[in-house]
Each structure stands twice: as C-alpha cells, then as structure tokens.
Symmetry: C3
Subunit: 380 residues, 3 copies
C-alpha cells in the first residue's frame, strides 16, 4: 500500500464523532459567526477579527472550496457566499463532506440555537445518538422544586428516563469546580444537605445551576453507576473554566476508585494536557481520551497535536471527536483536519519504514471509528 | 508570492522588540560572556563550557559570519575576534544586522552594566523607548525613607514622573513571589501596614528589595491603573524564580479582575508554559504574549517553540521580543531566530497550500511589528 | 562529514546506559510479555493487545529483523520466533545489537525475575555496574528488626557496605510520596520517631515498605551525603505514581539545598515534564537529566521527545538511558531509538547548516557516553 493509498483509506473511514453538538439551526451574521469560532465568550475586540486565527485560516482553506470559492477566499467573500447559501445548505454541504457516519451528540448546552438529534441526522444523512449531560438532568429535576429528601430518587428516575436511548453520559465538573475534588462518593445525607442549600437558593430566585462540589461528585458517581461511558470535559474550554484546575492528572485518585466499576471514562479534548491524558489511558484500563476541539482551534498545527496524542496510549484507547458546536465549518474541520493530520503523521512514518501502511490504516480506523463503536456498544 | 519572497518579506519586517534590555556597555572576557548566555546565575562548572548549548551553537552559526568569521567558528576564534573588534563595534555590527526598528527597553535590572535608552538608540540607529519596572520605582521611593503613611502617594508621584515618556510598565512578581497570590487589590490600610514592616526592615540595614506579596499586588494594581500595557515576567528565568509558581494559568482569577480596566497585560517569555499563554490570549481580550528569551536559548529548536506559539492565540495577540540583556549576540539572535523560525514554519504551511503566502507575510508583520505598535500606541 | 557519516558515527558510540535494570532471566509467554511492555500494572484488557501501541510497533519494526523476521512481522510470528529462540538467545541477540558498552543497573525492583549485575555482563558482553536503591537498603535493615534508636547507624553501615562497589544511589520518593515534601533534612529525633512508628507497623505484620515522608527525606539526604550521583525517578511510571506530584519543578527548593554538597542529582525519565527538567539542568550546576523510558514507550515519536530534550540544558547535562526492565527488546529499543532519533534530529540540523556535523557527533557522544563516564567517575 502506498501513502496515497493510505490517505485514500483514511479519507474513506466512516467516522464516529464521539463528542459533538448540533449544527446551527438558522443563519448567523459575520459578527455572530466570529464569536462562535473561539472559546472566548467575550465580544471580539474592535482591533481584530477572529478570522485571523488558525481556525479562521482553516475555514478559508478547507471550507471555502466546499462552498464554491477558491481556497483562502477573503473573509468578506466567504461570509457573502455563506449568506447566499443559507444555513440549511451550508449544513448540507459541510456535514455531507465530513464523512462522519455517526454523531454522538451532547445536547446539554444552549440547545435552542442548534439542531437536535433528529435535526442533525436529517441535515447530515448520518446516524445521531445522544449523550446526556448529568448536570442538566439534575437542573431539570431541581426546576420541578422537589424537596431535598426527594432529590436523589427523583434524579435517578430522571436519569434512567433520559438515558433510555442514550449511549453515554457527560460531566462538566471541570467547568463548575475543577478536578481538585474529594474522589470519594458522597453519602446520601451529605448529598441531601447540599441539595437543601441549593434548592433554598433556587427558591430565593437563583438560576438552577449546580456548582456544589458535593452535588457534582454525586452526579459523577451516579454516572459511574449508570454504566454507560462517562465523558468528562478536560482542559481547554471557555473562560468559565479555570484551566489550571483541569489537568486530568488531578483525576488520578478518582480514576482509581472508579476502575473497579468497569465504567469507561472518556477524557475529552485534554489540550494542552493531552500527553497527561495519554499517560492515564496507558496505565488505566478504563480510561480513553481524544484531542477534539484542539484539532479545530489549532488549524494547521493540529498535525502536531495529533502526533502528540500518539505517544503513550495504546491505539485502542484513543478516539476521534470534533466537539463542534454551531457552525458546520467546525463539524467539517474536526473531521477534515483529523484525516489530514493522521494522513501526514502516519504517512511520514510509513515513508520512513517505521510503520507498515497496513498498520497505519488499521490504527486510523480504530481511532476514527472502531474504538468508539466498541466502547459505546453501537453499530453504524 | 513564492516562499523565497515570503522569507525576503519576513527579513524586511522592521521589528519592534517589545521586551529587551540594553547591550553591553564595555567589553567582557570569555568567562564573563559565558555567564551572560545562560539564565543560571551560578559560575559555569569547570567540566563544561556554556558554548556547548543551543544558544552557544547559534552564536557560532549566526553571529560569527557577521563578525567576519566562518559559520561554526571555534569558540576560541570567536572570542579572539570579539576582543579584537571591541564591544562598540560588536554592538554596531550585531544590533545593525538585527533589523529591529524599535526597542522597548526594561532598564530595571543591573542598569550600570548595559547601555541606557539613549545609548541603545545611538548604538543601533533604532528608536528606543522605555518600560518602567514597578518594583524599581517603589524601591527608589523607599530609599528616600518616606514614612509608611506617605508611601502610596509618593509611589504614585514617582510612577507618574518616571513613566511620563514610557510606553509600558512591568512587574516581576514572578521572581519575588510567584503567581499564587490573592488576586484582589489590597486596601490602603493593608498596603500601609506592609510598607511599615518593609521600611522598618530597611531601617535596620536591609536592602530595599520589595518581596511582600501585599506590596507586589499593590504595584500590579497601580500598574493596571496607570493604563499603559503592563508586562509580566512569566515562566523561564534565572533560578531566583520558582518556575512551578510561574505558570500563567495561575493568573486566571487576577486576569478576570483586570479585564474591566482595559489595561493590556503582556505575558513575557512563557516557556515552557507558552501553550497556556496562548489559551489565555484567546479567551481574554486584554491578554497578549510572546516567546522571547525561549527563542534565544533554544537556538535551532526555536522553530518548534515558535510553531507552538501559533496555536490558540488569535494572530493579533502575539508579539515578538528577544529579552536580550548584555551581549548583542542575544539581540541579534532574538531577531534572527524569530525570522528564521517564522520563515520555516509559515513557509512549510504555504508550501503545503495550508496558508496563502500573502496571509503568512501579513501575520509575520502583525506579530513582528504591528501588534506592538498598536498595543503600545507608538509609531516607528 | 556527511549526514551518513554522522549516522554511522552515532551508531558507533559505545553507549553508557546510566539507568537500566536486568534482562529477563527466563522465557515468558505472550501474555506475560505484553504486561512487561507497558507501565500499567493491570492485566491487558480483553478488547486490546499491547502490541497495538508505539512500543509494540517499534518491537515489530526494529527487533523482528534482529530475530530473523521481516520488519513489521505479525505479533503471532514474533512470539513464535521468540519462543523458538529462548530467552538466553534473545538476550544475546538484542543486548549484543544494542551497542551498549556499560550498564548502570538498578537492582532494587523484582530482582528475582531478571538478570543481576554479573548476569547482565555475561549476557551482553558489556560492563555492568550497580546503582543502589536507598529505599531497598532501609527495608533490608528494617527486616532485621533493629530498634528505632539503632536504625540510623544501621542504615549508614548497610549503605556503606552495599555501595562499596556501586557507582550511584537512587531514590523512588516519586512513587512513595511525590515531590511535595519539606526540602529540609529531618533531624535525628524526627527520623527515630518515624522509624519507631514504621517498625511497630512491621512488627504487627506489615510489609517493610518505607513510605513515611520523614524516612524518605532521611534517605534522600543520606544519599546526598554518600556523594555518589543520586538518581531520582521523575515523571512517567506505573500507576503507583501520582504523576501530578512528580513534576521535577517541585524539587526546586530541595535542589537549592543540595547544591552546596556537590552531589550530582540525576533526574530520570522526566516525561512529560522533560522541558522542566531541561530548565533545571541549565540553571543548577549539579542537575542532570535523561528522557529514558519515554524513548521506548513513544516509539517512532521518540524523535520528538529527544528533540524537546535538546532545548535549555547545556549538552554536558543530558544523559542517555533506556530504563529497560525485563524483555531485552526494551534494552535494544532504548539504544536503537535513541540513535535513530539523535541521527534524525541532529542530521536535519546539519543538513540545514544550523549545526556542523562535527559538533553533532561530539554532542551525541557527550550525551550517549562521555557525560555519564564523567559524572559517575567510571571508565569503559
């Protein structure tokens, strides 16, 4: 097999994007678009455009031709073309070109602005399955104003119902508290007391946003009990995260406690701590990771990030994701830059005789598709 | 535009070195020179020469030809030639070859041994502007033996006077305390109490070296109020720094408090935490960074450091600096290795079709010059 | 000198493997072998084979031909051939091909399963010298049931005896406690009290495994006093290590206290903190480091790890090691991947004119051999 054949083989892998959100439900203008292609939640400063970034350059390079423009088209031309096509057509073109066969959708963040599970399936022609955010389930329960004594049972009932067709759960404790938490499961009395304080706060008019470390830990352990693969946001994210507290190594003691349950733990994104994640994926049988999000936002440099993700972890423990939210450019780039990076990195190793081409394609297929099918127990 | 044209374009960028110190005022011998090309403040051990390091090899490769020697000239030949020319001529040749148009000079460290702002302008033919070190201003005030009750007002008066023509301020809290500090502004009573203790210590014969966390935080916030871009030493430096406490992520809470002021925060050096700095520069509108110092000291590997600095940060948020202090070799290498690294990294992306050559030159010009002109509000 | 000559020169360096363990004393089956080519101490999960990892691919690529198979031979063929040859012949072939002239053996971990110092010398035809693990010495002393009051003197006597022919000592405080420890030397009374508690625990049937921070610090300082190079496990290792506590930067305060003793401190492995180790090796005259272990386990990616190790540290401060334990494949790969990586990295610099070929070979010889001969005071 030549390296051209390898690239063609990687291009043909029908990907499972194991952590992603919906594409935009309606057209946005340039200002709104620019705010969607950064993890900053601040307005874009007047002195700059977010198109002058790796992700902006990657959009002009890889998405422009799919919308009928030359590579590196000027931003103004790109946005004019985008508006002309409309969001539905942009979604059709870009989702269609991504070669993703299955999306595992986290629907827990600003679900009103984006396509839901059925919408993504319809827009892309791919399968779409749901990942349930544990914090959202508890917040849904809290909005019904249960008593503190009822909350554990009510949560379990709601989780069972909301995950009946889901393939995984997700925790955003990284955002709400960070990883420096007591790894032990909190007892029922402790959970009830924490729920009491939180529900009282909601009664006084607070938004039902769970940030009590006790409740967040309760959710983690309930997720473990549920037995579906448990995704954790790790590392890079919006400024709501205190990145210094999101190094996955801080999870070590908790991972040891979870190990005996058999529940797979999926470390998402991980940049800039992806080497640490690779270490955990080597030494703990139940730990997996990906470098999604970082692939999109580092653009041409994603090749280096992908290469760094191929160090300590056995190849059965690494997955593909885009973590795209909103513009279908992010869905396309997640897939496209992953294929490009894998092709370049593995291709160079094959050219140098370090890897066989057959092994290279096999590993790309494991990471891009097969590992996810196995861990989530799905077909596609 | 070809990649040769790109390299020529990058070579022609008239750089703004936004964090640098003066060149040597007089000739040094080989022993002293070797101690100036490492961040160690210890004597060079007998068993080694500091010329056997990346920076030493880069000097022989890139500076030797500018002094009329072949590339890779032997150290003995290099030092003989250097002595023959004298420091003024070495400065003229190396500063002249750097293509730096503007130096922003931090004059706060061992100012007696190096050229001052006027001296650097004269030796280089470039513009030179001043960055004022906040700790030095307070130490100057303290040397006048004010009462503790007078110190806040006296500091403000001195800062206003010393920054009348300056373009920025700088904090070295990294060296004096690290970044694990209370992010809130200390109140006047707290500052006065800390000043009282410090002044009493000076009265008992202590050197006026400010290391009280309260006073260091006071200085940071006064720098914020002054409104000029506020530089912070981050990461790599001499052993006086506890590097484990100098990860810029530890500044997150403080950066959030500063954000509303509008004062730009310039994270200097950042190695080996430059990816973390790039993250902060993406998510916070007022945060900028560079990888100076690390470029000089990693020599041929600076290409990798530069590439890593081009990941998350929008291109409007990254700057060029050398952080050279003393030997003009460091001033030359800062500029030369930056141009070489940018040319190689961006050139490869252009060759592969990932970036357009026009974009590549535009980004190099932003990072090498335009971002600094904009942030510091200077012309050149 | 051409880059072919450079590669030939690097191939001819008679290496000193300054941190390594014995090769297997008897044949193992595939299941046992797979558990020996990961730092995980857990069973290999049913869904995967550890041969699908960088180290597994490197074995098939580089070791298979030495056993008479084609490169990339299938795992089943590889294990069949291995069984056919027997461990003694595998050892002879792989150790013989490594070009290692001297092994510095740490004999303190599961010594019964692997060759001892004499056995390694016999199997390889190389010199073999001993590194003494400080914790093992104390555990040996404790097994004799001394009183707490006798333990300091008994330890010193045992250390003197066990290091009579040794060339270095080693601490595994990284495994037993991590680096967040009080850097000061504990006083005799404190040590005696800690010994009392520990001996009482052993009396009650505990395994004599020292994990008291006081006793571990006592051992570190006794190692300093002994004056031989003191090796510390740093970074990557089995899940018994809490990697978040094994960043060598956490040793900074202790390194400053040790500096005046003159005892060299050898930071082992260091991945993924090897850039931090390089910083410490630049600023502290007595600090050295290597990237062993990480070279084996990152396989083809070891080239990147080696390149990253060649940044801040002066070339006199970096060493070569394999940290191989057990399968002679690991001994071979440590050496072979190091030569391959150095050849590629330095060769590219020579090709680009950044380094001279003569310097490149000189630096490879320093790191691969001469630095170790000098620091350990040995000949070979």
């Amino acid at each position: 097999m030549s390296t051209e054949d390898l690239s063609a083989g990687i291009a043909a892998v029908r990907l499972v994007d194991h952590h992603v959100h919906g594409a935009l439900a309606s057209t946005v203008d340039r200002g709104a678009f620019e705010e969607l292609i950064t993890e900053s939640d601040r307005p874009i400063p007047d002195f700059m455009t977010q198109m002058d970034s790796q992700v902006g350059f990657a959009i002009r390079r890889h998405c422009a031709p799919l919308l009928g423009l030359p590579p590196h088209a000027a931003p103004a031309d790109y946005f004019a073309r985008r508006a002309e096509l409309g969001e539905a057509e942009v979604n059709r073109l870009l989702l269609g070109a991504s070669g993703v066969g299955t999306y595992l959708l986290d629907t827990g963040f600003r679900a009103d602005a984006i396509l839901d599970v059925a919408g993504m399936a319809a827009a892309s022609g791919a399968d779409a399955r749901e990942i349930v955010r544990l914090e959202s389930v508890l917040e849904t329960v809290a909005a019904r104003r249960p008593s503190a004594g009822e909350i554990i049972a009510a949560f379990r009932e709601e989780l069972a119902a909301s995950t009946a067709d889901a393939v995984g759960t997700k925790s955003i404790i990284a955002y709400r508290h960070g990883f420096a938490f007591d790894p032990e499961r909190p007892g029922p009395a402790e959970v009830t007391r924490a729920a009491e304080a939180w529900l009282a706060q909601i009664d006084r008019g607070g938004v039902p946003r769970v940030d009590s470390p006790v409740l967040l830990r309760f959710l983690l352990w309930e997720g473990v009990d549920r037995g579906l693969p448990l995704q954790l946001h790790v590392g890079y994210g919006d400024p709501d995260v205190d990145l210094a507290r999101c190094d996955p190594l801080l999870l070590t003691a908790w991972l040891k406690l979870v190990e005996r349950s058999g529940t797979p733990v999926m470390l998402l994104h991980c940049y800039p701590f992806h080497r640490n994640a690779g270490y955990l994926a080597q030494v703990f049988p139940h730990v997996y990771f990906d470098v999604g999000l970082g692939i999109n936002y580092t653009g041409v440099r994603s090749e280096a990030v992908i290469a760094e993700s191929l160090e300590l972890a056995p190849f059965a423990k690494t997955l593909f994701s885009s973590d795209a939210w909103g513009p279908a450019e992010l869905h396309l780039l997640g897939a496209h830059l992953w294929r490009r990076g894998m092709g370049k990195v593995l291709g160079a190793w094959v050219d140098d005789g370090d890897w066989s081409a057959a092994d290279a394609l096999r590993v790309a297929t494991m990471i891009g598709r097969e590992n996810a099918l196995r861990v989530y127990g799905i077909r596609s």
